[in-house]
Amino acid sequence: MTWDANLHTGVTTLAETGDAPPGAIRELTYLEAIREALRYELQRDPAVLLLGEDIGVYGGAFKVTQGLIEEFGEQRVIDTPMTELAMIYAAIGMSFQGFRPVVEMQFADFISTGFDAIVQFAATNHYRWGQAAPITIRAPGAGGLRAGPFHSQSNEAWFVHTPGLKVVAPATPADAWGLLISAIRDPNPVIYYETKYLYRSLKGPVAGGETGLVPLGRAALRREGEELSIITYGAMVHEALAVAADLERAGHSIEVLDLRTLKPLDEAAILATAHKTGKVLIVHEANRTCGVGAEVAALIAEQAFDALDGPITRVAGPDTPVPYSPPLEDAHRPDAVKIRAAAQRLLEF
């Protein structure tokens, strides 16, 4: 589509767009699941708006929003100037007037440019003067794509530390769909970390309509096991599952818990798996120090102390920017090999 086109502003109804009937299961890529969730909410709720750089006519840097401006018009899919701080502030202002803006950061790395609007304003209004700010910020994050230090960041811990925000990080197309819808409907500011690496590399079943909703704050047990729990999120869920399958062949029984929501953490699920296996391995791409893994470890060390049969172990991105060159990025990024080695050590403890 080009800028010359006459963008219509009408709202298409569900029936017209040939969606799957409610409840039917479709195979979608992770990226398609995000797009379809946006479409679903745009169709369902006229208060939902999309805001972002290059998200309309261009369809977004990753084409997540492709086709949406044609379908919903430029009143609802709004191409903005390159100005993250004003964009997030503006989204909050819109939310004060009944809208449910979904803001796309072109990369999660640029969320720091709008930081004040998120941590100082969005996060505090309800506590201070009872005003909800229902905005969703989509942050395409994480690495593995040879994109270097400014297009590979996993900076979720900044927001997990900040009260007043919610943070989610789906690992599957079904969760990408279900968590995005829940995020948009939540009356609080939610940062939605989507994993660029999975956009087109991961396909999976997505239940359409309301049946596919995933509540915020609920982890998912991806695999049951007895000897060791891997607690993780995002792309690392798949690495963890590969390790679990591999170790099963070696006779081990590994549980994999996908956190899905990073704030608020599903403390019950975390403590339950720690109690069950007594050995916990936490995995994430984000830098190790003060990452989400530290909080999970601290929580377990405080509240499931009695259950532990081995040191709570973390496999995380080392404390460096994410380097570009393939050998360096591979050395940096946790993967099945690194996870397996740590799991092995913990199993033998």
Binding site: P81, Y89, I92, G93, D116, H126, R128, Q131, P134, N188
Partner: protein, 321 residues
């Protein structure tokens, strides 16, 4: 154009109330009943009251720390304001936020402000954007100071409002100082309004101590915005007549500058206009001041009698549900 008598009389009441409430707050601070900081707005009454009065009931404003008059004009009762200053459960922020921060109430079209200046400009761009998207004939108003003008957000929000041609009015309160920093160290231009041209929007300069001038300029901008004409930046020239906050003795401000501006006191000026037009005499003024004093006595009594928030509720309300 002469403003209607009724409007002037009303404005006079609000300006006097604003000043009296401000002085009451300073007094309570001196008595150590208000702990922490306290910001005086003396000298800003014409701006905050005129801006408030130029808005309609469905419009929305995001005032800042020297816009006490705007809060009052939009209907925030002195009771709730004094209870806020005293950290009581009945204060606007229920004891959560300090002095003029967080004094928001959307039922009155007021957004609670945060320290990070000029946040109001950003959020108001979004409010104005919402009005435009909904096709509602409503206007959103932001305030920022000569200090706030240096922040990137002022630039981003003005550009945003311009690109989307939003119904937004931005009041720049140029009171010559940002804390201790004089205008000439904040920027190397004389008129902040000159920056409007960089966004392709009108920039208006007005005497911020002249109620009538501010009212007319803001009314025009509000009408323009409401009619779809887009945003306006209005620079009100004024002077901060007290320290940055109550602890600041302003040693850095030349005495003669303060004296010059004392001659231009906005309340004295509106009173001169009222007297000239036969709308005020000594007796009427005395009666008004007494009425205001009574109102504030009652408000103070309410605030002081109000309970503190229950400490067991400290973690409540972080999230909406």
């Amino acid at each position: 154009m002469e403003l209607p008598a009724e409007l002037l009389t009303r404005a006079h009441y609000w300006m006097r109330l604003t000043r009296a409430l401000d002085e009451r707050g300073a007094f309570l601070h001196k008595q150590s009943k208000i702990v922490g900081g306290y910001f005086s707005q003396i000298g800003h009454e014409a701006i905050s009251v005129a801006a408030g009065l130029a808005l309609g009931p469905d419009d929305v404003a995001a005032p800042m720390h020297r816009d006490l008059g705007t809060y009052l004009v939009r209907g925030l009762h002195p009771r709730r304001i004094l209870a806020q200053f005293l950290g009581r459960a009945t204060g606007v922020s229920r004891g959560r936020d300090a002095n003029l921060h967080g004094m928001g109430d959307l039922s009155l079209g007021l957004i609670g402000f945060i320290s990070h200046l000029p946040a109001s400009t950003g959020v108001i761009a979004g409010v104005a954007h919402a009005f435009k998207l909904k096709g509602e004939p409503r206007v959103a108003m932001a305030f920022f100071g000569d200090g706030g003008a240096s922040q990137g957000l002022a630039h981003e929000a003005l550009n945003w409002a311009s690109v989307f041609q939003l119904p937004m009015v931005v009041i720049c309160e140029n009171n010559q100082y940002a804390y201790s920093t004089p205008l000439a160290r904040q920027m190397r231009i004389e008129h902040i309004a000159d920056r409007a041209a960089g966004y392709g929007i009108p920039g208006v300069i007005v005497d911020g101590n002249d109620f009538c001038a501010v009212y007319q300029a803001v009314t025009q901008a509000v009408e323009r915005a409401r009619a779809g004409g887009g945003p306006t930046l209005i620079e009100c020239k004024t002077m901060r007549m007290r320290g940055h906050a109550i602890h600041d003795n302003m040693a850095y401000v030349p005495k003669d500058l303060l004296e010059t501006w004392a001659q231009r006191d906005p309340i004295a000026r509106i009173e001169a206009v009222l007297r000239e037009r036969g709308l005020l005499d000594d007796a009427a003024l005395a009666a008004l001041l007494e009425r205001i004093d009574h109102e504030l006595d009652e408000a103070q009594a309410y605030a002081e009698a109000s309970p503190y928030p229950d400490p067991s509720e400290v973690t409540q309300g972080v999230y909406a549900d």
